[in-house]
């Protein structure tokens, strides 16, 4: 592999996971905060809230995972490696 391409791929892989983690991080924080608020207001529906929260957290996590997939593709299946 060309050293420039290797360096660019590694930097790109790091950036793709790091940047992809920002948005979902904020989103998950907001969602969890709202869920805690909801539980504090209505403790009797805690189980229902927890289920919905986990499901939506996993959806948000998927966004970071897309970044991870891009990073893995750059590291292990680089289409420009030649």
């Amino acid at each position: 592999m060309d050293s420039i391409i290797a360096a660019a791929s590694v930097i790109g892989a790091g950036l793709s996971v790091g940047l992809a983690a920002i948005g979902p991080g904020i989103g998950q924080g907001t969602a969890a905060g709202q869920a805690v608020e909801g539980i504090a207001r209505q403790p009797e529906v805690e189980n229902q809230i927890r289920g919905t929260l986990l499901l939506s957290l996993a959806f948000m996590e998927a966004l970071t995972i897309y970044g991870l997939v891009v990073a893995l593709a750059l590291l292990f299946a680089n289409p420009f490696a030649g």
């Binding site: 986990l54 499901l55 996993a58 959806f59 996590e61 998927a62 995972i65 897309y66 991870l68 997939v69 893995l72 593709a73 590291l75 292990f76 299946a77 680089n78 490696a81």
Partner: protein, 252 residues
Amino acid sequence: MSGCKYLFILKKYPMDFINNSILLAGVEIGTHYYWEIAGVSLHGQVFIVSWVVIGLLLTAAVLGASDPKRIPESWQNFMEATVEFTQEIARNQIGESSYRTWLPFVSTMFLFIFGCNWAGAIIPWKLILLPEGELAAPTNDINTTVALALLTSLTYFYAGFRKKGLGYFKRYLEPTPILLPINILEDFTKPLSLSFRLFGNVLADELTISVLVLLVPLFVPLPIMALGIFAGSVQALIFSTLAAAYIHEALE
């Protein structure tokens, strides 16, 4: 596409030198146990673990249904609870009136993915040595997850055609015909996101555990392993929930 026989080939992990220096643990990505059958290369380790999972699921189902009693006992009880759980997923998404037709598909998806994720996380496959590659969850291979996602696509198309015939295509012009390209694009992004989500999550769990085991082989990876088991079940739940939601969308 001459050199690209497989959808996704991962090259050997560059940290291979660690494998040679410390023999406690290793990270392996992209090494597969190839089976050459009629000129086609198959990822053998995926097949072996999938067959084990399918065998386990079949055994559980047969044992649960072999001697049905009016008042269910131990194993039958457990299997009924399992089926009721998956039934709940399908009913919540598709609705009371038509979920029964699609229940088998949604249940199968849930149980197979759940079985695969947990088989990869719980069974100590490392004890079985393969000539190349290693046994792990079949869902950490993108070919498996893409197959599952395409099956989901086929199913919701079939559901739509069965319900409405060619009138199904009217859905692409709603709410306005301007959105036609986006509606068509959605049919491609659905399987893409389904497959990447499952593949990425399972692989990420396994990678985190391998890297941690590489750094600290004792105790430290345990909470992450527990997290991996949890994430595996959540991913199975999500995949089947989304499959049911897509089917419901096509039926609307």
